[in-house]
Amino acid sequence: MLDLAIIGGGPAGVAAGVYAARKKIKTALITDAFGGQSVVSDEIQNFVGLKSVSGLALAQMMEWHLRAQEGIEIVFPDRAAKIEKTAAGFSVATESGKKIETLAVLWTAGSRRRELGGPGEAEFEGRGVAYCSTCDAPVFKGKAVAVVGGGNSGLEAAVDLFPYASRVYLVIRGEDPRGDPLTLEKIKANPNAEIIASAEILSISGDNFVSGLRYRDKKIGEEKELPVGGVFVEIGSVPNVNPVKELVEINAAGEIAVDHRTQKTSLEGIWAAGDATDVLYKQNNISMGDAVKAVLNVYDWLKRRQKS
């Protein structure tokens, strides 16, 4: 029987693992990857203590830091498939078929990209529908491309495409992109870029590869089609909560509701930290701090249990 199972290997999971090991809490950490979502980031400039670092380098440093700890069991590559309440605590079943019995669970499984969900998206994934502009932008050389989403990741994807795409359409739901003004200025200054506002995406079409994106112009109520060879979908993220969603309170946004002093969820014995929670700001630095809070609270909780 373990004291703690940490689910996830992003910034929150790794920070929790390091603190748990140093507190000599009997811990297993289950993850299929290290570093979290910013692993695909070309350059991170706000990770405190490092002026500039690539997402991959940061992920490796996190993994090394975790693996340098004594006494923590790292279950990798694996994922939590199901978590059940037991008489003594919790039973975590992993996708590879392991069963882990534990007193406490710290859920740090983060979030995943949000999909459009309309016709054509799944069918054309990889064949024009793309989700990683830093990876795939150069493959769209000479093609007209649409980026869907007006937040920071949408604006950044548009800028990533500028050196390669013949034309970039930034397609947004609202009237103005919500992302950083600095990036938006770059887009407005580029003659090959066009912002298409008040658009409701209808479908993605094509033959072998994507050839068009259909949308409704909500202002005039008319359907239109953009002739594009690529559609980059950058519309935010969805918290990963499936294995715990029947156990703990989830808010309307699909996030785990936590007590922000302790990171406790609504169910005794389960804590959560990072992007899967209702934390207001989703940031590497914040996820780490919240996970540390959680582990220190788990430590106090375990101590109290021993005494009683």
Partner: protein, 75 residues
């Protein structure tokens, strides 16, 4: 013969190359951001537009699919 089609800013390409290096697998890299012919070749082989594409003796793997690559390389 292992070929990998990459772009310079693709982190999964770097992961794949690190994985090859760690396992002493020799590979030939084609940067599709620069090399138009390699890009066309990659699209023709994989029927898709994402990197990395890994060609292990004619078997095509899309993405850094570690278990699949391990199976093909028997490591």
């Amino acid at each position: 013969m292992v070929k990998i089609y990459t772009t310079p800013t693709c982190v999964y390409c770097k992961m794949a190359k690190d994985f090859f290096a760690k396992n002493n697998i020799k590979f030939e890299e084609h940067n599709v951001a620069e090399d138009d012919r390699a890009r066309e070749e990659m699209i023709a082989k994989s029927h898709q537009l994402g990197v990395p594409v890994i060609d292990v003796d004619g078997e095509i793997v899309v993405g850094f699919n570690r278990p699949e690559i391990q199976r093909l390389l028997k490591i």
